[in-house]
């Protein structure tokens, strides 16, 4: 097969005056794990509903396997959804829940049973067949919901905040299982979450959404290290943002006049252009390791011990409106009120247009 598995073209949708989706274009490759990441209200769940067929978009088309599915009802499109609240039918046993889709497709009892057991075994719940959903723990219910969606062999599996209801530890464990499961079955997963750690852990392709638009998309490593927008730089991990004007143009080098003084980095740009520099907290150091850019002195206002590191907030002496977010090794003695000198390797600074 050529071309993407799912192709979304110029999708727009409004609820009243609120624009939930604004000209979304997105391709999903076969066998990939795509994560839609964004804060609540960013349109990610609306997008998933449209993919699942629960909502007809006002503008734009959705193609799955090259076929126009924009108006196809959920029952007839090659997608299956894992719902946020799992939506396991409480009156049916686990086996009947998982077998529901096959039963609706007219698969005979014996074949159905065999497939259901096989799928349950795959998610590690072989012995839960005759239990009722309310007898299971949250994590087990999650797996049943997965099995129920996978058993009908969809081309695309849609997951709506599937780990949202689980506690932190279980969530991290289920993340690993989800990823492993996806690699094993080879189905394309599209997963909605507002948890950036979850997104980085799971995604082959990470789509950052905000206010109905796609802010950035790509492999999570790229999105993290080279975010395309201010929003991405602060939503997917933290960043200190410095704004300024491009000042002069040398040999592949520009100087940006920021709030904390001129910063020289290797890049190209037009003089007079407004730009933003984003710096990840782990890239700021308290000692000068050449070739580093000096960011000036700053006063520490907050120190939070977080186990393997300490997270500092420090207000710049040059401009009190700039607060640096810094990660330092946890054995480094530093306390509130200290004045520190900050540096950052030029190569680690992220240049963005405003």
């Amino acid at each position: 097969m050529t071309g993407p598995l799912v192709e979304i073209r110029q999708l727009s949708h409004s609820f009243g005056t609120h624009k939930a989706l604004d000209e979304i274009a997105l391709n999903v490759e076969p066998g990939s794990y795509t994560v839609l990441l964004g804060p609540s209200g960013s349109g990610k769940t609306t997008l998933l509903s449209i993919l699942g067929g629960f909502l007809a978009p006002q503008e734009g088309r959705v193609f799955i396997r090259g076929e126009d599915c924009t108006a196809t009802p959920p029952a007839r499109r090659p997608t299956a959804t894992v719902f946020q609240d799992y939506a396991l039918f409480p009156h049916l046993s686990v086996g009947d829940n998982v077998g529901f889709g096959l039963r609706m497709r007219g698969v005979g009892r014996s074949r159905r049973n065999a497939k259901v057991r096989e799928t349950l075994a795959m998610v590690g719940l072989a012995d839960a067949y005759s239990k009722k959903p309310h007898q299971l723990s949250g994590g087990q219910r999650q797996r049943v919901a997965l099995a129920r969606a996978l058993v009908v062999e969809p081309a695309v599996l849609l997951l709506d905040e599937p780990l949202g209801a689980l506690d932190l530890k279980l969530r991290r464990q289920m993340q690993d299982e989800l990823k492993a499961l996806q690699k094993r079955v080879g189905t394309a997963f599209i997963h909605v979450t507002h948890d950036q750690e979850e997104a980085m852990a799971l995604a082959d392709h990470c789509v950052v959404m905000n206010q109905g638009r796609i802010e950035d998309q790509g492999p999570p490593e790229r999105v993290y290290s080279r975010p395309a927008s201010r929003f991405t730089a602060t939503f997917m991990g933290e960043s200190t943002l410095l704004t300024g004007k491009v000042q002069d143009l040398g040999m592949d080098e520009i100087s940006v006049a920021t709030e904390v003084g001129p910063v020289a980095i290797s890049a190209s740009g037009e003089p007079g252009f407004d730009v933003t520099l984003a710096i990840r907290p782990e890239h700021i150091t308290l000692v000068d390791v050449p070739p580093s850019v000096a960011l000036g002195e700053a006063k520490v206002t907050d120190v939070v011990f977080q186990g393997s590191f300490k997270r500092l907030l420090a207000v710049s002496d040059k401009n009190p409106e700039v607060t640096f977010i810094v990660k330092v090794p946890s054995n480094r003695p530093v306390s509130v009120g200290d004045t520190v000198e900050l540096f950052c390797p030029a190569a680690d600074m992220i240049l963005m247009s405003r």
């Binding site: 699942g52 067929g53 629960f54 009802p73 959920p74 029952a75 007839r76 997608t79 299956a80 959804t81 719902f83 946020q84 609240d85 939506a87 039918f89 409480p90 009156h91 049916l92 529901f100 889709g101 609706m104 497709r105 009722k132 129920r148 969606a149 009908v152």
Partner: protein, 255 residues
Amino acid sequence: MLPFVAMGVLSFMQHGGDGSASFDNYRQFFDNPSYWRAMVNSLEVTLTVTAISVLLAYPFAWILAEVVPLRLQRLALMLAVLPFWTSYVVRSYSWLLVLSENGVVNKALTGSGLLSDPVQLANSRAGTVIGFVHFFVMLLTLTIFANLKQLSPSYRKAAADLGAGPLRTFLHVILPLTLPGIMVGAFLTFVLCIGDYITPQILGGNNELLMPQLIMMQIGRRGDFPLASALAIILMVVVTIAYLFCARWLKLERS
């Protein structure tokens, strides 16, 4: 609580007796076929009413919850239970107006030439049943509507996603999930219906007696409180059995 104790004690006494206890009143119920008959009538009427009310109310509640646009639902529901606010006695009387020999229904039927003679609707079991069904359709519509609205919309979505059409979604998912609620409503109908005196007295006529009428007769005409107490206790026992039946059924559903 005291009234019940007094009634319990009294049910073993005799009318005009010396205060010695016996099971005579209970024996009387089992020996006298006309008393038996009242119980059987009561059960027949109550079960008929419950069945018809549920069958009428469920689709109606479904229409209110699913077909009527969301912003009109509150209004539609309020309208549907508006006649609740007529006094109970007046409501039965209104049905008498509608169903009597010269009433609206008979006038319409004979006037349009569908029937040559008026049908007897009032003063018959049909009258009682219609009067009851009217009341309980409203009650059940209310409870079933609440039940349908409580269901998470994702159940319906999940069923559709897995390939079930509207009919099968209803049969395999919606109906089983609302069944416990229906049972609660049906039980309420049963309890209220079997103990009601007004509707059968106004609409049922003199052809057959139901239990509440029989009890009232013992009090009103004969002043036989002990017998009335015994009959009342038998009625309570029947309700309790119905309750146990429902409760067991509901528990089975849950586990």
